[in-house]
Amino acid sequence: MPHVSERRRTIFLSLRCLILFVLSLAFVACHPHIPPEALKLDSESLKQRQVQTRIFQTDDEAKVLAACAALLQDTGFNIDESETQLGVIVGSKDRSAVSAGQVVGSIFVSLLIGAPIPWDKNQKMRACVITRPVGEEKKTIAVRVTFQRIVWNTEGKVTKREGLTDPKIYQEFFEKLSKSLFLEAHEAL
């Protein structure tokens, strides 16, 4: 029945058209759109601020900033940018991102499916420390530090871009900062 097979072909072709259209739309829509909440304050922002900030009883902002710079060096960061007048220090470091568990998992899956699966290889970690005088008489300095990282896999593709929010990181940083301030105050080392 040639008539029916012709109709089938027509339907088949229109279906292909539709699939192609949807796929192409997905391509066009790769003009990415900013998430609506990207620049919005929420309760999480306030919580993060508390975790990432400590107040120090001093009015010498430059001294606190110097102690922060020394601490960034202690923790292996290179200073990328500083602006004393605004209380800004920014540092970064490159580290390995290899984790044994992920490598074993990747190799296992690679063997199963017969194609290589990449794993995380390198990461760039960034830190920025901001100091600012607070309080009525500006006798105290607030220090806020934030960290973020970018991770690349063995194929050189970015696999993670994230801010680091684990409170333990910040707790350890500020413990070290207290020590750094103490060392600076006593001109030890």
Partner: protein
């Protein structure tokens, strides 16, 4: 002759899609030519009733940190701050502060989301609403 007409449709759709996908030339990408300069300025700029540039810059930095940004660069003399937010996506923002007349400062923010400029008014409204809360001052729209 049903099939050839379907085929024609098929090619037509592909052609239209190519027109849509093949978007901007290098010049257009470089100078964001399709943007209206005036419109962009008005959605990216607010005026504040203060002349304290340093305090304003410090408040901009605080606000950026509240919004999850890490500062890349800051310059008090030029009055500018650049920061990046990584949250699965990359959002980069530059904020400049400069005097407007004797009594005001102009704050301008421009953002880039992944590889596209942000030209919707809404994200900027969110940013300035966060900034004016931290400034304890109203952000005035500028014509």
């Amino acid at each position: 002759m049903k099939i050839p007409s379907t085929l024609r449709n098929y090619f037509f759709i592909i052609f239209v899609l190519f027109l849509m996908v093949g978007c901007a030339t290098t010049q257009q990408q470089l100078l964001d030519s399709e943007q209206s300069q005036l419109r962009l300025r008005s959605i990216q700029t607010r005026a504040f009733d203060t002349t304290d540039k340093e305090k304003t810059l410090r408040t901009v930095i605080t606000t950026l940190q509240d919004l999850g940004f890490v500062i890349d660069k800051a310059d008090a003399t030029l009055g500018m701050v650049t920061a990046t937010k990584l949250d699965r996506y990359a959002l980069r923002m530059t904020v400049t502060v400069r005097p407007r007349g004797e009594t005001q400062l102009l704050v301008r923010a421009n953002a880039q989301y992944e590889t596209t400029p942000v030209d919707d008014p809404e994200p900027y409204q969110h940013f300035f609403s966060a900034l004016q809360k931290a400034m304890f001052l109203a952000a005035h729209e500028v014509d």
